[in-house]
Symmetry: C2
Subunit: 357 residues, 2 copies
């Protein structure tokens, strides 16, 4: 990951749960061989599978020293807190890792390399502070170029932030690849950057260039691909994140969208107003995304990707059936039941839109 093989300790102190430790869960699900341990003192002694449902027997340990004892040689910040600051109580763990000469990988908005204390600690041992969200210096301007691609561009969009957009994108790529299609994943957020190869954290670039970076990533990924599957960010419904969501939508110019939703979540995650914003019905979200896409290039929501975590299997299957009925689109929990229904819908759309021979 990110330049060389690593054995990471994932820092998730006090927050190693499926909903709070989004980055740690993504890395454990898709890069398990690169994780030596998770640091969360209150859950030390348990396994990752036990805490978050993925990661198998990878141990949860008390601190950085204990992670070193099981073979870790690098530290990654495993959470994505709103606002993106380093939780103060984690500073000691970062300093401990740097003192051991470990590289520290962070997807926070607050760049660790710009922190004088941390920078000095890194310099003292030759360790590196790798800020995944730091934007490239380029200033690409979007111009709707992705609308002209022969590849089918797919964007995962969400009913909220932290709704499963990255996971759905990866699972769709896998399902498409399993049937022999050439499918590329485009990482646009901190967890996607850890899981994929390349990409840009679009929520951290200057807002004028969100669409331009998206377009650049899509054009690059489209070389030799039948499908380009772009991880969306934010949500058109979210008062803080709607702008980045729309910038990605208009930069990617997708032909198809997949709407991601965690079953049972009723209100948007808005820290200062936790009950202030109800999530609209799925059918309304489908309309909304198709409307907004059409401002630059018409696109269809072909399916719904649900996260049914916490439901028993009959209830999870019933939720998929209900979502399909409500929206008139394919619906699946891609992690639990596979992304095949979504891949089917994409293949059908690609077939219908193929240029005449």
């Amino acid at each position: 990951m990110l330049g060389r093989p690593r054995r990471l300790a994932l820092l998730a102190e006090g927050r190693f749960t499926p909903t709070e430790a989004k980055t740690a869960v993504g890395v454990l699900r898709y890069r398990p061989a690169e994780v030596a341990a998770v640091v969360d003192s209150g859950r030390a002694g348990r396994t990752c599978r036990d805490c978050v449902g993925v990661g198998g027997d990878t141990p949860v340990v008390r601190d950085v020293a204990a992670a070193a004892a099981v073979g870790a040689d690098g530290l990654m910040i495993g959470v994505a807190p709103q606002g993106g600051a380093l939780p103060g109580e984690w500073r000691g763990s970062v300093l401990d890792a740097l003192a051991r000469g470990w590289d520290v990988l962070s997807g926070l908005h607050e760049f660790l390399a710009d922190d004088p204390q941390l920078a000095a600690a890194a310099a003292a041992t030759g360790a590196r502070l790798l800020d995944l969200r730091r934007p490239p210096a380029r200033r690409p301007m979007a111009a709707g170029r992705a609308a002209g691609l022969a590849a089918t561009v797919v964007l995962t969009v969400g009913s909220d932030c932290n709704a499963g957009k990255m996971t759905a994108a990866v699972e769709i790529v896998r399902a498409l690849a399993a049937r022999g299609a050439r499918a590329a994943f485009v990482a646009t957020g901190q967890t996607g950057l850890c899981v994929g190869e390349g990409g840009v954290a679009l929520d951290a670039v200057p807002s004028d260039f969100v669409a331009g970076f998206t377009e650049e990533l899509v054009l690059e990924a489209a070389r030799g691909a039948d499908y380009v599957v772009v991880e969306g960010q934010g949500s058109l419904a979210h008062p803080a994140y709607s702008g980045v969501a729309l910038g990605i939508l208009h930069g990617a110019c997708p032909a198809a969208m997949v709407l991601c939703h965690p079953v049972g979540r009723t209100h948007l995650r808005v820290s200062a107003a936790p009950d202030g914003f109800a999530i609209p019905p799925l059918a309304e979200l489908v309309r909304r995304h198709e409307t907004a896409a059409g401002w630059v290039r018409p696109a269809r929501v072909v399916g719904v990707a649900l996260n049914t975590h916490g439901l028993d299997e009959p209830a999870a299957r019933a939720a998929c059936t209900a979502a399909a009925r409500e929206t008139g689109r394919a619906a699946a929990d891609p992690v639990r039941f596979g992304a095949e229904p979504l891949a089917d819908a994409l293949a059908a759309l690609r077939r219908d839109h193929a240029p005449a021979a």
Copy 2:
């Protein structure tokens, strides 16, 4: 402006036209006493009024030395090129100004203070490189707070970039103030920052925080104001700038919007695809903005602000009448004929929404 009284030379070499030198024109219109000269060698010897219709007898001069001869003591970059890089042929003028010890004010995305050659030249004379677009270090998260204000929040939105949103906002504030209302202007772009007091260049902040900074600016401006008039950025119709436009819309949570449009422009300014994107009809743009606003807080487009530059007066008045008929809203060219029709519409909306006594 920006800390102390100045006599500025506005650098607009080769581009001192109403459409290309947006920042220079804004400063000449609203801060004429602070401008000593405009630098554009090909137009040297003419007046500002002659070149761009504002700025009276302020001279256009050949170079920085000629600007010094008429009393300039600072340099401001007077254009806002797409992509925001410093045109290479302007570097010599910036270096000349710095050698004279002049501060250089820039609203470019490319930060002049980060350029080693320019930074060294500034250090040599004690001059300062003031990058107006550099984002504050804060990371505010929007939460729809502006929807709860007693003040009436107004957002100018555009059919395109460079459509007159800043100018319309300033003219509306003036018209409201003229009738005794307490109206505050919120600057959100490089020209607005030069014309107003305070503000943040929202197109340059990390995209996650566009709405948060907007909300912060609106809440601050609302103290003691009846109306808060926010300068919009970009356009929901523009493939590169729709994200910043939506972020500002959802951060500001306006009750009212004013749609700005340059009469006669038929296609969006998309540098790589100049004829690729037709501007939708005004009535469609009204619907689109009201739809997108409603995703967070319902709002009404109360009027249309036209820029009728280049039309004779009967044609300009006919254009206003046609826009009013097409949209069913008030319409005016606020620069040419005054913003009173727009102020009337806002006052009516505020009256209708006033809390019962």
